[in-house]
């Protein structure tokens, strides 16, 4: 490509007068370049068609999808934290023995009704709101919501002001208080920026389930169901239509994508 434009430039800049030997030389160079480049182009085409990713890396998220989760507290055991450890494994989260500053993307919360004594256990993570306050308050737009409803932090434009952490009603976000190394390529993290549950966006883009959901169904109680809330035929849509479910702090009107049953 660059070779041919180079050739063209030379032609236009050439002094008037025809030189057949020069032309044939240039043609030969162009042909040789074509022969040299062709296999590369071929390989590129092959690699593209055989990609393992369900969604091309540069493809935009679909606005017709609304990813969500239904968590059934009837199946969520107080002693089980398989979802938490799966999240840590998947996203390379590890503690530094400082619980006040260590990042937590998902946590188990124990709740008890003081009037009745009834108690429950549930996982809480980023609720992936339809109207996320963290996105509203972020000065640089680093906090953003993808078209398919996943709320993320752009790690390149987060300045670490932590206003999103002040605004989030769910305490879902963590600030990276330490120097990190050995991060997972699919879960970029870095000191001085804010982070939270990504709903395992890298897995979703590869047509897989979030790590917590997978772990819950493999070794936990099978309490977590992931799917497209916009698709009336999806399992999650059928279940939320059939059974009563709740959103945390529904009074705030943020319409979170995470719903809870038997809360």
């Amino acid at each position: 490509m660059s070779m041919s434009s180079d050739t063209k430039d030379r032609k236009t800049n050439a002094t008037p007068g025809f030189d057949p030997a020069r032309r044939s030389f240039l043609s030969a160079v162009a042909a040789a370049a074509g022969v040299a480049l062709a296999p590369g182009v071929m390989l590129y085409g092959i690699s593209k068609s055989s990609s393992v990713s369900a969604k091309a890396l540069d493809a935009e998220a679909s606005g017709s999808v609304r990813w969500g989760m239904l968590i059934d507290l009837g199946r969520c055991d107080s002693g089980c934290d398989d979802c938490v450890s799966a999240c840590a494994r998947e996203n390379g989260l590890r503690g530094f023995g400082r619980p006040e500053t260590d990042a937590q993307w998902i946590r188990k919360v124990e709740i008890k009704n003081p009037q009745t004594g009834n108690s429950k256990s549930l996982p809480v993570m980023c609720q992936h709101c339809e109207d996320p306050p963290c996105v509203d308050v972020c000065p640089t737009g680093a906090s953003f919501k993808r078209a398919d409803g996943i709320v993320l932090v752009n790690k390149h434009t987060c300045i670490g002001c932590r206003y999103c952490m002040m605004a989030c009603p769910y305490k879902a976000r963590s600030f990276v208080h330490e120097v990190l190394d050995d991060q997972k390529p699919h879960a970029p993290r870095g000191k001085g920026t804010v982070e939270s549950c990504t709903l395992c966006v890298h897995r979703i883009d590869a047509d897989r389930q979030p790590a917590c959901v997978e772990a819950c169904s493999d070794t936990g109680g099978g309490a977590m169901l992931f799917g497209d809330l916009n698709d009336p035929d999806s399992e999650i849509s059928k279940r939320v239509a059939m059974y009563a479910s709740q959103q945390l702090r529904a009074d705030l009107g943020l319409n979170p994508g995470i719903r809870y049953r038997n809360l």
């Binding site: 124990e110 008890k112 003081p114 972020c138 640089t140 670490g160 932590r162 206003y163 702090r249």
Partner: protein, 417 residues
Amino acid sequence: MSAARNRNDAVKKITYSEIKIKSTRFYTLAAILAVFILSALACAFYMEHYGHYVTGMSNQIVWGTPHVFAIFLIVAASGALNVASIGTVFGKPLYKPLGRLSGLLAVALLVGGLVILVLDLGRPDRLIVAMTHYNFKSIFAWNIFLYVGFMVIVAVYLWLQMERRMNRHAKAAGLVAFIWRLVLTTGTGSIFGFLIAREAYDSAIMAPLFVAMSFSFGLAIYILILLAACRGSEREVGDVVMRKLSRLLGVFIAAVLYFTAVQHLANLYAAEHGGVERFILMDGGIYTLLFWLGQVVVGGLIPMILVFRPATAGSNRNAILASVLVIIGGFAQVYVIVIAGQAYPLDLFPGMEVSSSFYDGAIASYAPSLPEIGLGLGGVALAGMIVLVGLKVLRFLPVSLANAAIDPHQKEVTGRP
């Protein structure tokens, strides 16, 4: 032009000059401030190098002591400009000679506060990102414009005041600056007022409360700087000026107490906010102490008595004491707003007892760390350095504020002499 000059002459001709202090004293003062500024840079570097875990801040208390200092200075900055506004916008001749210092102090305090905020960022190296990427739904992004705009407007306003040929435009610039500063403090208060999920904040009253706080803190700092600068350069300040400024401070202190009372009474009326109110007003330990003793008694009632009681009103000594108390009380107030407001846990499950490994349902603990305090003091020192150098090189301060030198009749400027 000539009419305006006549008017000025009719009021009183004011002469300004650079302060003349002994160079040893100037350099000693500058060196002390420089030590604080350099320490703050070292603190910021330490925090950025190791990460914020070396501070007292955490995932529970995400904004700490640096923010207390920064918010205090930024709020005080807009208030410090009031003295100039009263002179030019509201036409009170007594305040005219005080206007230039007011503008200088406003810019200095704002710069000091903003530097703290920027150096506390997780990624201060990305300041350029903050300057080039804007989310206009964010009050934070708006504030970046409000702060930068404030500095530009006040700089122009100062120039119009100081350049004799441009004096006639000073009133218009003063009006713009006055409106801008009200919007700016509204924006700063709304940083908290717009936080829907935090019970201690989510309220429109945060904006007027912050405006009242700015009036009070800004004037207190102004009084201290004015007296220090005049004493340092052997200039007289008469009791006419001090009596006026002290009484004004008293009114501003009352305004802060009024808005604070309304804020808490409105919250107390709603049963759902009973928890956070009980925490701040009754069982919050250090926060309760800071609220009642720090803000209400030391920063409110005592200085009000000092400035309003005929026996003590008007003396320089009492004005200094009242101003120092207002600043101490102001720090206590901002500390309670920023830290106590976060220490009280978010209510994810109303009516439930909650616990988790992430401190859900628990009162968060926080102790200011040395790097945070060092950074905060550095911002104060930077503001001080700007004022010191400004006074030394430019004519901000009137030669005399003695009763005889200022307009003794204190008549309002009504147009023609």
